[in-house]
């Protein structure tokens, strides 16, 4: 479980996050949604410690992350996995080496054990016959799946995904969403996903945090989002024609 309390973050006098508090629960896909520039990525990067917050606290279970020194943070980070927007695979490593890298750095497993773990993770994300290819030789969707495999190879307790569907076609997006959701449930991870893709929201949004201009505007789940009263959330959700149609149909049927 990740608990964030009263987070504030600014860059050069520009307030980006103001008083954000929420709880992300294990075994659930927790989504942070909002328009581009709303502060989603800054919030995600603040939670994982890539940005230091100005005020507020972040707890990983009962461990206060904001008060940890660099050594303790590094140790805690071995319990985290993160999928970046572009995959962030290491260009000079092939697929297999990318996934094996955290094992090489932090475990004393034998070569055989590492290979078994790498094969298991790549198999889990449906990658086969691409083990020896380099990131430049695989598609965007495959890059995302390899990034997911690398993120789960250390069996993390916390999984973070920054716009996992960006740049992918709708079908591949769905595959990635389902994969992340499955892994979250199977491994009982606390998963936090940053997205502005409404299809993802409606597919896997166990918990949704909507932020606008760095402020929490709404919290709930996918079943409640279409009926939410919040004006800014409605503008965000119903910018999509499909959901606008769904709402109008619902209103028509009531009348």
């Amino acid at each position: 479980m990740i608990t964030i309390q009263n987070i504030f973050k600014s860059f050069e006098n520009k307030q980006v996050l103001s008083n954000i508090s929420t709880v992300f629960e294990p075994g659930k896909t927790n989504l942070i949604i909002g328009r581009s520039g709303s502060g989603k990525t800054v919030l995600l990067k603040s939670i994982v410690g890539l940005h230091d917050v100005d005020e507020g606290t972040i707890f990983y279970d009962d461990r206060n992350f904001t008060q940890m020194n660099e050594k303790l943070r590094k140790k805690l980070r071995q319990e985290m996995g993160m999928v970046f927007q572009g995959g962030a695979l290491f260009d000079s490593f092939n697929v297999e080496e990318n996934v094996r890298f955290p094992l090489d750095m932090f475990t004393n497993k034998t070569a055989k054990e590492k290979q078994e773990r790498v094969d298991f993770c790549l198999d889990r994300v449906n990658i086969d016959k691409a083990h020896k290819l380099y990131p430049a030789e695989i598609s965007g969707g495959m890059k995302k799946r390899v990034a997911i495999a690398r993120a789960i190879v250390m069996n993390p307790k916390y999984l973070f995904c920054d716009e996992p569907n960006s740049g992918l076609d709708p079908e591949t997006s769905l595959v990635i969403d389902e994969l992340i959701h499955e892994l979250t449930v199977d491994f009982e991870m606390t998963t936090v996903i940053n997205t502005h893709d409404m299809n993802s929201v409606m597919e896997i949004g166990d918990k949704i945090l909507f932020i606008s201009e760095g402020v929490t505007c709404w919290e709930g789940d996918k079943d409640k989002i279409l009926e939410a009263e919040n004006q800014k959330l409605q503008e965000f959700v119903f910018a999509n024609k499909t959901y606008r149609q769904q709402r109008d149909d619902k209103i028509d049927s009531k009348n």
Partner: protein, 245 residues
């Protein structure tokens, strides 16, 4: 103020870069890869440049000392001392700042803008140490060897060009390069190459590590890195020459 900001951030980065590695074996493997990419792959360009420069220095010395008062073997001596004292240490370092320095900035800068550095940090890896330490050790280790190779090829260049254009005979040239050899010149230049190697690796690494933006900014950072490294090499050349002579 901006100057002090960069100096402070540079030394802070060095502090992180030279902290204890997470796993020595992995860093050692990186070191060998960097030795090959940054060092061995530079041997060809060093040889070509040194042969030409050795030939040109020989011609310049010959044409500017064409007097019956000067024995022709001094042409060899002039080429040797120019190569040892300045060309094979300082000028070579300036050239290597362009080749190796831009390579380091663009590699680390690209990793920064594609979030690969963030990815290392999230894994709990000290990205500064993982990326910068092996490169720095490799360049500092390989520079003295490149210096020796450069002197060797520069002398060969003089031996080819001098007799070929009739500026000096081969026996006179060979006599000249052995005449009044001062071994301290080599020690002095070796010390300089260690400093220059450190600058050529760490200054571009600094510019790459803190790049923000996209491909355009990575290109701009590479240019800034090479320019600043060149200036620092010349400043240190001046300081070290004053201190060591």
């Amino acid at each position: 103020m901006k100057f002090f900001f960069h100096v402070g951030r540079y030394f802070t980065l060095l502090g992180r870069a030279f902290s204890r590695p997470e796993k020595h074996r992995i860093y050692l493997r990186r070191l060998f890869i960097e030795l090959e990419q940054l060092g061995l792959d530079s041997v060809g360009i060093v040889a070509i440049i040194s042969i030409f420069m050795g030939g040109i220095i020989t011609l310049q010395v010959a044409y500017n000392m064409s007097s019956p008062l000067f024995p022709s073997y001094l042409i060899g001596l002039g080429n040797r001392d120019t190569l040892i004292l300045e060309f094979s240490s300082t000028i070579l370092a300036l050239i290597m700042a362009g080749k190796i320095g831009s390579n380091i900035t663009s590699e680390i800068g690209s990793m920064r803008v594609t979030e690969q550095i963030d990815s290392l940090e999230i894994m709990g890896i000290n990205s500064a140490s993982f990326l910068i330490m092996p490169k720095t050790l490799a360049v500092v280790f390989i520079f003295p060897f490149l210096f020796v190779l450069s002197v060797f090829f520069g002398l060969i260049g003089g031996l080819i060009v001098g007799p070929a254009v009739g500026a000096v005979t081969a026996p006179d040239y060979i006599n000249g390069i052995q005449y009044m050899f001062t071994s301290y010149y080599v020690t002095f230049s070796m010390i300089k190459t260690l400093f220059f190697g450190f600058l050529v690796a760490t200054v571009p690494a600094y510019f790459g590590y803190f790049v923000e933006g996209g491909a355009f900014e990575v290109g701009a950072a590479s240019t800034r890195a090479v320019v600043n490294t060149n200036i620092l090499i010349l400043v240190f050349d001046l300081i070290l020459t004053q201190l060591l002579f």
